[in-house]
């Protein structure tokens, strides 16, 4: 018997009302999108807060990687391909220069949006005399297909500018900080489909925080919320799997083998956040001939000097870490809107700012005034 979203809501409302706030963090843009579009925040009891956390790979892709992609596309005789979201992510350069891949394309660079790594391979095969660079940003769910592409074999003229990231180290960093900003975790469904739910056991085992893996439909998300609330009430914590149709023990083992074969893990920079240990993917030695950073090292060196750059006033990093809500950023809905985004969280379909804006959650909060009033 399946339980509907409505029934899960009734179950949540039937739980003992807590006096303290319970903050439940999600770490997946798809989760945040479903939560916002289904209006779950308004349907839940007032004591529950749903916090969007580090769930948008486009948002955490460091500025220097976007800058490197723009410079390569403008200055080298290459075709640059990237997932569509990446084309509109701005970098902090003077307005006279190309600030996005989209603007670089308008200036004549050959930049093409793709929806699948298989398209990158097809473009490379169609253009055997030209170098093709695949700027690949993504979490595990997207990086695994990139690894599969490499293991299956790519043409000699296809190289990677890889910005793959692992999700769990960002959550571990928040928890290790001592001020994680959440009381329960909704673990990502498709990351867990690939990597296995076991990756999230540390949340429970090491930090005594309830966690549940959820799918993308409201019934699965509400089941996960109910599970974590029950765990809090009972003070019995475990990792629940509320997406068993896709999330299996050990994950997708074939995909994991391919990730291990093609890539190593390294300490990677997250936009506006800094270095998170063991949080990034890099092509391993076997595939180094397809690593654009080895082919064009001067671009990587130039880009590295820009590490840590953020547009003035942009609070994307705070939004990504769940430290503030999108509408607490002073640029939200004023200088920063989907048509003219300042930060990546307003660009990507998985960015919390864009999702809140699309979902009609546009009322801004004057955070500074509130803090002054409190202080």
């Amino acid at each position: 018997m399946t339980i509907s979203a409505k029934q899960w809501l009734q179950q949540i409302h039937a739980l003992p009302q807590r006096k303290d706030k319970v903050k439940i963090m999600n770490v997946c843009g798809g989760h945040e999108r479903s939560i916002t579009m289904a209006g779950l925040r308004k349907a839940l009891p007032d004591y529950i807060e749903l916090v969007p956390g580090p769930g948008c790979p486009v948002c955490v892709c460091p500025e220097e990687d976007v800058f490197e992609a723009i410079q390569l596309a403008l200055n080298e005789d290459i075709i640059l391909v990237a997932f569509g979201d990446m084309l509109r992510v701005p970098v902090n350069v003077p307005k006279a220069q190309a600030r996005t891949l989209e603007q670089a394309k308008a200036q004549g660079a050959d930049i093409r949006p793709i929806a699948s790594p298989t398209e990158a391979v097809a473009i490379a095969k169609q253009n055997p005399d030209q170098a093709v660079v695949f700027f690949a940003a993504g979490f595990e769910t997207t990086t695994a297909p990139v690894a599969a592409m490499m293991v299956e074999g790519v043409p000699d003229n296809l190289s990677l500018l890889l910005s793959g990231r692992l999700t769990w180290p960002a959550v571990a960093m928040l928890l290790d900080s001592g001020t994680p900003g959440f009381d329960a975790l909704i673990a990502p469904g498709h990351v867990s489909t690939i990597m296995g739910p076991e990756e999230w056991e540390f949340v429970v085992d090491k930090h005594n925080i309830p966690a549940a893996v959820a799918g993308f439909q409201p019934d699965s998300l509400l089941a996960a919320m109910y599970s974590t609330l029950r765990q809090l009430n009972d003070e019995r914590y475990f990792l629940d799997n509320c997406y068993p149709s896709l999330v299996k023990p050990g994950g997708n083992k074939s995909a994991r083998r391919q990730l291990d074969k093609a890539m190593d893990v390294y300490d990677a920079n997250w936009r506006g956040v800094g270095i998170i240990p063991g949080s990034g993917y890099v092509l391993n030695q076997q595939y180094s001939s397809h690593d654009v950073r080895a082919q064009f090292p001067s671009y990587a060196d130039d880009a590295r000097k820009r590490a840590g750059q953020m547009p003035p006033g942009c609070d994307c990093a705070q939004v990504v870490l769940g430290k503030i809500y999108p509408n607490e950023c002073k640029l939200f809905g004023t200088a920063c809107k989907p048509r003219n985004p300042i930060g990546p969280c307003m660009v990507s379909d998985e960015g919390a700012c864009r999702i809140w804006w699309a979902g009609g959650m546009r009322e801004t909060v004057n955070r500074v005034s509130e803090q002054e009033a409190v202080g």
């Binding site: 798809g30 489909t193 896709l246 074939s254 391919q258 998985e350 699309a358």
Partner: protein, 76 residues
């Protein structure tokens, strides 16, 4: 980018499958599904052109019904 779309396999050639959902056909890579036995008419969840997991027909149907509701909600 983490969106997964349930699709039905129409034909298989090596690691490539022709798949269909809601009347739209796409080529899908089965390269990440080497531990699974997949056959024509099976349902899979597809992410950026790669199958990431096999699902039952009931789960695929249920997912599409809910996606339809969500899409209708976004467009209204």
């Amino acid at each position: 980018m983490c969106l997964g779309i349930p699709m039905q396999i129409k034909s298989i050639e090596g690691f490539n499958a022709r798949c269909e959902a809601k009347g739209v056909e796409r080529d899908v890579s089965l390269f990440m599904m080497q531990d699974d036995q997949l056959e024509v008419d099976d349902f899979i969840v597809v992410h950026v052109g790669y199958a990431i997991q096999k699902i039952s027909p009931q789960e695929a149907q249920s997912a599409w019904e809910i996606y339809d509701e969500m899409l209708a909600g976004e467009q209204s």
